[in-house]
Symmetry: C2
Subunit: 114 residues, 2 copies
DNA sequence: GTACTTTGATCCGATAACCGATCATCGAGA
DNA sequence: TCTCGATGATCGGTTATCGGATCAAAGTAC
């Protein structure tokens, strides 16, 4: 639930509800209702304000659980963070794909060890 | 702008505005206003309904351009796809992190070649 | 040709989103 | 001890969201 995610992130950042609301330029009363999931349909602009202060993207707040044709499309946030970090480090897509092929090969090898 | 993105994706899927609205269970009048950016603050649930029909995640609709302390936080969709593929292939985070350290080491080596 | 259907745009209103003010409680400082 | 400020929760009101109805134009079938 979106409210819970906001609350956890806020606490992770050591922000009070009041502080987050002030910084985001939103009403703390509404934020309180959202965090407790008493209100569940905030607007995109409201969420963007919060995301900005919490230094995450909106997707993180709403949860990556979009279903596409019954197939779960969520990608664990940790993987996204890893990819992001990789980009900042300077890894190219080619290097990554090379690595992926290597792992596939390794797995294949494991499988055919007998 | 969010409305433009929705429109483009909808046309890509060969859906009429009416059809998308019907499938998403939303009012086509509001969708029309949104697509033309006459209204710019839809709710998260409204967007999730659209995203589901268009088979994208909400982030795609709103644009991955969240700025975090002046640093662009968008992550190229291709990288996300690579990460996703990696997960399906069975790569563990530990393996990936190992690889990352290796690349960092390689880059460091390159740098200190002289 | 006419009749019907579909499209996206326009209009108006109900209601939930979101606000500011207030409240009860707690903690810190004098 | 008392006072003040901060916290998160509660309350009532404004207004923008989002809905349904309608419209004008285009397309299709007979």
């Amino acid at each position: 639930m979106i409210g819970y995610r906001i609350k956890v992130l806020r606490q992770k950042r050591r922000l009070s509800l009041t502080e987050l609301a002030d910084r985001a330029g939103i009403a703390k009363s509404y934020l309180s209702y959202i965090e407790r999931n008493l209100q569940k349909n905030p607007s995109i602009q409201f969420l963007e304000k919060i995301a900005l202060v919490l230094e995450v993207d909106v997707e993180t707040l709403i949860g990556e659980e979009t279903m596409v044709k019954g197939v779960k499309q969520d990608l664990e946030q940790e993987w996204i963070d890893l990819a992001r970090k990789a980009v900042l480090t300077g890894i190219t897509k080619e290097e990554f794909q090379e690595f992926q092929r290597f792992v596939e090969y390794t797995n294949w090898k494991k499988k055919h060890k007998t």
